[in-house]
């Protein structure tokens, strides 16, 4: 909790500056966070307004009230950066609450929580679709208001992560995007818009654009994505090693690689992710306990690494060394990283799980469909990709399944996932470690990642991130994989067989969790085992060796995933022959994520058995305790629940999700 308190403060400070007008000096974050949170309440009903005002004051928040939506909007515009969160009623005479929500989201990018006496599912669903951070049903209790700070924190973290990601381009890839701040805000707005307006496949592409550094500007036409297959990534890594990590410039790398059709920009963005991954791995190694640091540090890379993590995990899973739960955890972690990737992971998971469950056969993509997310389209591709190892990935995905629903219109959903991922990663790591020790075999994990090539366009994006860091030498690359954007997650689902992919996916999701502590511990472990890893000079061989070790190390994670050992064995058998190349990618990736998403493992562990039994194709992701109430913020519930391993299945039928997305 202390960590959390620290983080929110910094994020609040960062958030305020991110929001634009209020620079750090203006915003004073009190020590007893979240006291002092600046809330604006808008409700035409004076009774409720007065009651909520009093409740918020009791929570030690800084309350401003307004009974007119137009006046509130004016106030927000005049005093930009002076509010942290907005509570608004849905039905107001002068302006519809949802219109206000859109305006606030677009102009000020503040989290908006809707309130209404109408608690019917259709109304709440409408709120979600419009992109509300949360939907409170009157009568509102004080406990519900106490928790609204989470939306602020989550949003700020997501934003800062995106900004960092954008800003971490080392090779000037950013030129394409133009000015950094402008782009960031625009991309954030893009995400906001995408989230608010259409949670359809457009979202996928938007997220892809958002998260992928390699991607062109959102405005520009999409170039065909480069799929960073395992072989390609290995070529890349060997080129980098040849040049020396410090001297590796995209141009030289491109020349060395001598791959037709590869552009300098592709290499540059890939290199950037790789560097983030390395940094992250080394950072983790140096600060075993410094979760906040590591968490904040690789924030930018989280997106990328997330995707990597997935692959790693998948690879590991594929090799049969990662129990499904571990994989799920890792994936959760990976997926948790990037905010946007939430949707993707969910899809992957079901597919992954299925893959693992089915053994050598391809994972039926149907599971992905269950999630009802944009990823659905990827499913066909996915089925090809998911060897048994996918199982763990699936587990993770399933864990994320719940998140996708959260992602609906939620920008901040990822945060919850992040929390999960941390836990999951720990668990996964444990399992992985155990398995690895048993097998003494390099998981084929890397393999799954490579299969990215196959995906449909939507999946392509992640492939880049995922596959490329096999040899990881640097645990940091895992982080990068995590950061590989949400789109990466989608790919993961397809690529599930590839551990690298899966790990990335996982990482993406897990990012946001304040419980990054777990992640760091995960990272440090590998480093200790394979010192050369962080140096970045290890070649593939070393990496692969280390990976085995690395994967074992992270498995010091706290949780013990129960469950999928039978599946693991299946995976093992199927991936037996593949233990070669992908190992590099897998463990490293996993490591990256292990640190991040500790919370997920437990979840997945719990879910996995359920999922396996529950026939993922039915589209049930989590069993959520909160039931069917379609609240936007169940994510947090998940995170919290991780610890207690509650059934995290949200009873969202695929139809609900589908309808949400299709609208």
């Amino acid at each position: 909790m202390a960590t959390m308190q620290k983080m929110p403060q910094s994020s609040l400070g960062a958030g305020s500056s991110n929001n634009g007008t209020c620079k750090g000096g203006e915003v004073v974050v009190p020590d007893q966070f979240p006291a002092g949170l600046r809330v604006l309440v808008v409700d035409d009903d004076t009774t409720c307004l007065r009651i909520i005002e009093q409740m918020l004051r009791r929570c030690l928040y800084n309350v401003t009230t307004s009974s007119q939506a137009t006046a509130a909007l004016k106030l927000l515009r005049d005093k930009k950066g002076c509010f942290d969160v907005v509570l608004s009623d849905v039905h107001m005479p002068d302006m519809d609450g949802f219109k206000l929500l859109e305006r606030v989201g677009l102009e000020m990018d503040l989290p908006v929580i809707m309130m209404s006496a109408d608690g019917r599912t259709s109304a709440v669903m409408r709120g979600i679709r419009h992109g509300a951070c949360d939907y409170l049903i009157k009568p509102i209790r004080e406990e519900e208001l106490k928790n609204i700070w989470q939306h602020v924190v989550r949003k700020k973290w997501n934003e800062s992560k995106e900004h960092e990601n954008s800003g971490s381009l080392e090779d000037g890839d950013r030129n394409k995007r133009g000015g950094e701040d402008i782009d960031y805000s625009s991309s954030v707005n893009e995400v906001a818009e995408g989230v608010l307006k259409s949670q359809k496949k457009r979202r996928e592409s938007k997220e892809d654009e958002e998260g992928e550094i390699e991607n062109d500007d959102p405005s520009s036409s999409k170039k065909p994505r480069v799929v960073w297959s395992v072989e390609l990534h290995q070529q890349f890594v060997s080129a980098v090693n040849q040049l020396g990590i410090d001297k590796a410039v995209p141009k030289r790398i491109l020349e060395l690689m001598n791959v037709p059709g590869l552009t300098r920009e592709n290499v540059a963005s890939h290199l950037q992710k790789f560097r983030l991954y390395l940094k992250r791995l080394s950072g983790v190694a140096q600060q075993p306990g410094g979760i906040p640091n590591s968490f904040c540090g690789p924030v930018d890379s989280n997106l990328k690494l997330g995707s990597l993590g997935r692959f790693d995990i998948q690879a590991l899973a594929a090799s049969g060394q990662i129990p499904p739960q571990t994989l799920a955890v890792l994936q959760a972690e990976l997926l948790g990283r990037p905010a946007g990737g939430l949707l993707l992971p969910t899809m992957d998971q079901p597919a992954l799980l299925q893959a693992s469950l089915q053994g050598p056969k391809c994972v039926s993509v149907d599971h992905g469909v269950a999630f009802g997310q944009p990823l659905m389209k990827c499913q066909p591709g996915m089925s090809r990709q998911f060897p048994q190892s996918v199982m763990s990935a699936e587990d993770v995905n399933s864990g994320f399944g719940a998140w996708p629903s959260n992602n609906l219109g939620l920008k901040g959903a990822s945060s919850s996932l992040a929390g999960l991922s941390t836990q999951n990663s720990n668990a996964v790591m444990n399992i992985l470690q155990q398995q690895q020790q048993q097998q003494q075999q390099q998981p084929i994990l890397s393999e799954p990642g490579h299969s990215i090539n196959v995906q449909p366009s939507c999946l392509v994006a992640p492939s880049r991130s995922a596959t490329t860091f096999p040899s990881g030498n640097n645990p940091a690359s895992i982080n990068q994989a995590n950061n590989y954007n949400r789109s990466a997650i989608i790919d993961y689902s397809l690529l599930s067989p590839q551990s690298s992919n899966s790990s990335q996916g996982v990482a993406l999701v897990l990012d946001r969790d304040p419980k990054t502590t777990g992640v760091l511990s995960g990272y440090s472990a590998p480093n200790s085992v394979s010192p050369p890893a962080s140096s970045g000079s290890a070649n593939v061989d070393n990496v692969s060796n280390r990976q085995i070790q690395n994967s074992s190390i992270p498995f010091t994670a706290t949780r013990q995933l129960t469950g999928f050992s039978p599946n693991a064995s299946d995976i093992r058998s199927s991936y037996g022959p593949r233990s070669g190349n992908m190992l590099d990618q897998g463990p490293l990736r996993d490591l990256g994520f292990v640190g991040k998403g500790t919370s997920i493992p437990s979840r997945f562990a719990v879910d996995d058995p359920e999922l396996a039994a529950a026939n993922l194709s039915s589209g049930k992701f989590y069993g959520e305790n909160s039931g069917n109430r379609v609240k936007l913020e169940p994510n947090l519930d998940f995170v919290n629940n991780d610890k207690v391993n509650p059934p995290v299945m949200q009873q969202f039928s695929p139809n609900d999700l589908m309808s949400v997305f299709s609208e």
């Binding site: 009903d45 009774t47 409720c48 009093q54 409740m55 039905h91 006496a117 009157k138 009568p139 509102i140």
Partner: protein, 194 residues
């Protein structure tokens, strides 16, 4: 859906009472001295008992629910009159809403059910926020009728709503009066008082 209450609308009002600020009505007076009991300082405990009994009755009848308790908990040193303040606002707003609803339904050519739904929604929100459970339930039924464009059903629901609202208001008035007396009585110090 009609709640079976044989008596008319005003059967539960205690005489003619202004729905304004709380008024002390018919204070208990001691037979010997003719002074109000609270002045004698004897009625504190009794008043407190009366309050609890009244609240218990209202809870039992389903007129109030636990949200009212939340409201009471919000009252603290910084806001000593919070509950009465909020309830007053509620009365004020609710009467406006009821007048609007009545006006809408009185119109022969009434067809704007959507507008009625908005009024209802607000009434529902405020009622549930203060814990007026029965009023809120009638609003739910009212809303259902309005969504079916059932004018007759809406009229019936409106009558029921007004009835429930009046009952609630009377009881809450009573409650606050007792509260007022209790506060006064508690402030009086007599040597004979324990």
């Amino acid at each position: 859906m009609r709640d079976i209450r044989p008596s008319g609308r005003r059967d539960n009002t205690r005489g003619e009472r202004k729905y304004g600020l709380f008024q002390v009505i018919s204070p208990s007076r001691s037979a010997k001295t003719g002074l109000p009991l609270w002045l004698l300082g004897l009625g504190v405990d009794r008043l407190r008992t009366d309050m609890s009994r009244l609240l218990a009755l209202l809870f039992h009848q389903g007129v109030l629910d636990e949200q009212f308790l939340q409201l009471q908990q919000l009252q603290d040193g910084s806001c000593p009159n919070f509950v009465s303040e909020v309830i007053n606002i509620y009365f004020h707003e609710s009467e406006k809403l009821l007048r609007n609803l009545r006006g809408l339904l009185s119109d022969r050519e009434f067809s704007d059910y959507k507008k009625m739904g908005i009024h209802l929604n607000q009434f529902m929100g405020s009622s549930s926020s203060i814990g007026a459970k029965r009023v809120r339930n009638v609003c739910v039924a009212f809303r259902a009728a309005s969504e079916q464009n059932n004018r007759a059903g809406c009229l019936r629901a409106l009558e029921l709503l007004e009835h429930e609202y009046c009952y609630l208001k009377n009881k809450l008035h009573e409650f606050f009066q007792i509260e007022q007396q209790r506060v006064l009585a508690a402030g009086v110090r007599y040597p004979i008082q324990n």
